[in-house]
């Protein structure tokens, strides 16, 4: 089986193949970036990396200074030691799982992913192969996390907007400005009501449009005329005067963490909408069951032990890939 090393905060390194996954160190010849969220994009801005075309564009817009070589989904890249293919991960636009095949065995690295996929993504697709090593994120790795179907959540989102607009309240959705914000817009666009999005998210929207995901009637947030529009912003902006001139407003917090009731009082919001861009605990365990990989490596999780406990019971070998441990 392939050797997988933790590289501290620098991501994952496959030393035998010279491959880095969401990696920002100097020991890899080929680096693959799963998606454009900051915790997966190299901090070393001089690196040359591979990513899907949407991810490449998003990374550039968010200030990545290195070179991004576009690699289409399912377009095979061959190095002298391995064959690499990107598969859609369903997390945000352009998000990809990296499938590495070599003489030493294969490996599937999920990055962040969601299955069933977000509607504002290219979908979710697995390689048609038996997996040796499955490196999976496990952000919501507790059985208290089980998502409602997308259809139900989309309805809750649209209802929140229409009901509050009808009562004269400006609906505000707080969501991360890349991915969740655009998914909300994609869901809300059928209301045909004007939307305004916080500037940091606004500049990313055109990439969605360019890749075939129309986001409806939207413009960048303008304080003077935001009242009565559907507003989308990162939660942090609310504390910095976002729409503070609007007296009648209602706030919905959209995140997987909204599944915890305590978030409502912690954040003082009117509604919790547990819309996540990660898969839930049961989906994770089911996927492992379906893939039956030789080994599961768990990463990006506050609770690795609980996943291991369930995988143990399924007879699936697993280990925790601790990204935070200092690598060499």
């Amino acid at each position: 089986m392939l050797k997988v090393t933790k590289a501290g905060y620098h991501g994952i390194l496959l030393p035998e193949l010279g491959i880095g996954l969401d990696y920002s160190g100097t020991k890899a010849e080929h680096i693959f970036i799963s998606h454009a969220h900051a915790d997966h994009v190299p901090r070393n801005k001089k690196l040359s990396v591979y990513a899907t075309p949407p991810t490449a564009k998003l990374m550039k817009l968010r200030g990545f200074g290195g070179e991004v070589k576009p690699l289409e989904f399912k377009q095979i890249l061959e190095t002298n030691k391995a064959k690499i293919t990107l598969y859609p991960a369903g997390h945000i636009l352009g998000s990809a799982m990296t499938f590495v095949e070599s003489d030493l065995g294969n490996l599937l690295y999920t990055g962040d992913y969601r299955t069933p996929p977000s509607p504002a993504t290219e979908g979710f697709e697995l390689p048609d192969a038996d997996i040796d090593i499955f490196i999976t994120e496990a952000t919501f790795s507790l059985p208290i996390y089980k998502w409602k179907p997308e259809k139900v959540l989309a309805e809750q989102i649209r209802n929140f907007a229409t009901q509050n607009l009808a009562k004269g309240f400006t609906p505000i959705f707080t969501a991360y400005n890349l991915g969740k914000a655009q998914e909300l817009m994609y869901i809300l666009k059928e209301l045909k009501h004007p939307m305004q999005i916080h500037g940091a998210g606004f500049k990313l929207c055109s990439v969605y449009e360019d890749f075939g995901f129309p986001l409806g009637d939207y413009e960048t947030y303008q304080r003077e005329n935001c009242e009565g529009k559907i507003l989308i912003t990162p939660g942090s902006a609310l504390g910095n005067g976002f729409a503070s001139n609007v007296k009648k407003k209602r706030i919905a917090y959209c995140s997987g963490w909204a599944a915890n009731e305590s978030r409502q009082t912690q954040l003082t919001v009117d509604e919790l909408i547990p819309l996540s861009d990660h898969l839930d605990f049961f989906e994770l365990i089911d996927l492992c069951k379906k893939l039956q990989p030789k080994k599961v490596l768990i990463t990006h999780t506050p609770n690795p032990k609980i996943v291991q406990h369930y995988l143990d019971e399924l007879g699936i070998v697993s280990d925790f890939l601790d990204l935070e441990e200092t690598g060499n």
């Binding site: 507790l142 059985p143 996390y145 089980k146 032990k305 609980i306």
Partner: protein, 573 residues
């Protein structure tokens, strides 16, 4: 779920209403939700139960009943129900959600093994009440667990969540406390809020109050002799800013036992702070009052050991507390005196609504006419007066000072800032005994080491009612140890080898040298050299000091040390 499928008297509808209240922001909107719910209820019993469940718990506060089912018992039982590992799966889930009952709700919804077991059968409020009653009368742990399991199987997870919270007899944590329930009752039945509040105070019961409001009989909520009313309580002065001290008077705070005396027509009864009757323990007080041809009276005051013209320490009074028929020897050695500081009822008239000045005036007249001991009242104008009087009180061997607002009414059952207590900073805490540990060596065979806890019941950082603050293994006499061991048998909930988990019951006044921060403990504080100062048989766990008190004491200590910098600075520039 369509509204017509849920019957108005079902517990499910109450749970759904509570959930809506929880997720709605704004007090008025919350109250409206409960008003809408309450106005549909027809029978008195349902009105009583719905209001009681939401604001007092499974049992009415006056009943003094508890289900006595521990948090751990519920959590482990729920884990079994879901067929999951308690340590590996339940605990981290609870940590993530921050609420045990919410975790249970979500696991029951999510986990297929659990989902297969429950089927909501729309239990009524009265059926749920019967379940609570059966939990109360059942003393065996297995039997209690069986009742819980049987009930959970016919409830929806949302009902289970609220069932557990109501069972805890504390706040439901939906941002809807007693005041809001009173408000909703007033609105539902078009009554004045103050009338509702008064009726609740007098009756001590939100459920009975709701019935009276519904039936237009709130005026029947009147004070009755020989049914005690909740004591007015004092806030620590440190936690409240006092803007105008001259509006207060000062009295010395005795190191005694709070007591309410009801006197009418030769009949005399005494009630303790937790409203239990304690008449037979203090025959000399009865004798003292009965010789005086008194009018009908209710007096609020303090019982102290008084000998050779001196008030003796609380530790000596303890010899008398809980002793139903004190021996002649005990009576001679530790004679007690009732010192009054308030009069709540005289002749035909309740005096709660009179100001303290008016009540004091009446009390002084009674005292003069019948030679009844009352506290001395001292005028204060500023902080210097307080300091001086405080020192004098300490010199007298008393605990400190009470500051009382002259224009305040008797706020029964309330702890506001009309009464303030000035006590010596740090030194002792009223704690609740949580665990008993078997002693070794000389103390083998008895439980001699104890883990004591403070209250975090109203602290939303914690799930529990009490958390440990320290372990003590000294400061008690052999006789007290024997007595505690006898009681411990009755209040043991679970046994872990040499350690017993106890039902919160016994209040221990704990003395210590210092408070220190210790991040590894649940409370984040530890006490240095904790030891028993007194077993407070007169107090109940609801009187225990809170984590906030500990934090305040710690802060005060820090502040004090900073003040000293003035005279003896640790740095110069």
């Amino acid at each position: 779920m369509s509204p017509q499928s849920v019957h108005i008297t079902s517990f499910k509808l109450l749970a759904e209403t509570a959930q809506s209240i929880s997720s709605t922001r704004g007090n008025n909107a919350k109250i409206k939700l409960f008003v809408d719910y309450l106005s549909e209820l027809e029978s008195d019993k349902d009105v009583e139960l719905a209001t009681q469940f939401l604001s007092e718990g499974a049992f009415s506060s006056v009943s003094g009943k508890r289900a006595s089912v521990g948090h751990r018992t519920i959590a482990t039982l729920a884990a079994d129900f879901c067929e999951i590992d308690y340590e590996k799966v339940f605990k981290p889930s609870k940590t993530a959600s921050g609420s045990s009952s919410e975790t249970i709700q979500r696991l029951f919804e999510n986990i297929p093994e659990a989902r297969a077991k429950w089927k909501g059968e729309n239990l009524t409020l009265q059926e749920i009440n019967e379940v609570f009653e059966s939990l109360y009368i059942t003393s065996k742990r297995d039997a209690k667990q069986q009742i819980l399991l049987d009930t959970w199987k016919i409830m929806t997870p949302l009902e289970v969540k609220y069932f557990i919270r109501i069972l805890g007899q504390g706040s439901l944590r939906i941002g809807f406390e007693t005041k809001s329930v009173e408000n909703a009752i007033a609105k539902t039945y078009s009554k004045e809020l103050e009338t509702v509040r008064y009726a609740r105070m007098i009756s001590g019961s939100i459920g009975k109050t709701a019935i009276m409001a519904k039936n237009d009989t709130l005026d029947e909520a009147a004070f009755k002799m020989f049914s005690p009313i909740a004591f007015m309580l004092a806030s620590p002065i440190e936690s409240r800013a006092v803007t105008n001290l001259s509006e207060y008077i000062a009295e010395e705070k005795f190191d005694g036992m709070r007591c309410q005396a009801h006197i009418s027509d030769g009949r005399i009864e005494l009630f303790s702070r937790d409203l239990n009757e304690i008449t037979s323990s203090f025959p000399e007080i009865i004798e003292f009052f009965s010789g005086k041809q008194l009018p009908d009276l209710v007096l609020d005051g303090e019982i102290c050991v008084f000998k050779d013209n001196t008030i003796l320490p609380f530790q000596l009074l303890q010899k008398r507390m809980g002793v139903k028929k004190p021996s002649k020897k005990l009576l001679t050695e530790f004679p007690v005196l009732f010192i009054s500081y308030d009069v709540l009822y005289k002749d035909e008239d309740p005096l709660f609504d009179d100001s303290l000045s008016v009540r004091r005036d009446k009390l002084e007249k009674i005292s003069n006419k019948y030679s009844i001991p009352i506290t001395s009242q001292m005028k204060i104008a500023n902080q210097d007066d307080v300091e001086e009087l405080f020192q004098r009180a300490l010199d007298h061997g008393n605990e400190g000072l009470m500051l009382k607002r002259k224009d305040s009414v008797y706020e029964y059952g309330q702890r506001r800032k009309s009464w303030l207590k000035v006590k010596k900073p740090s030194g002792s805490l009223d704690t609740v005994m949580l665990y008993a540990h078997a002693g070794s060596g000389k103390r083998g065979g008895t439980y001699s080491d104890f883990t004591l806890g403070i209250s975090v019941k109203d602290d939303d950082r914690y799930e529990e009612e009490f958390i440990p603050i320290g372990k003590a293994y000294g400061g008690y006499s052999d006789e007290e140890l024997k007595k505690m061991n006898a009681l411990i048998k009755d209040i043991t909930l679970e046994r872990f080898g040499p350690t017993l988990l106890l039902k919160p019951n016994l209040v221990i006044e704990l003395e210590f040298e210092d408070i220190q921060i210790n991040k590894r403990t649940k409370a984040k504080y530890t006490l240095r050299f904790p030891r028993f100062k007194a077993i407070r048989w007169d107090l109940s766990p609801s009187d225990a000091d809170t984590l906030r008190d500990v934090e305040r004491m710690y802060q005060q200590k820090i502040d004090n040390e900073r003040l000293r910098q003035g005279k003896n600075p640790s740095f110069i520039f």
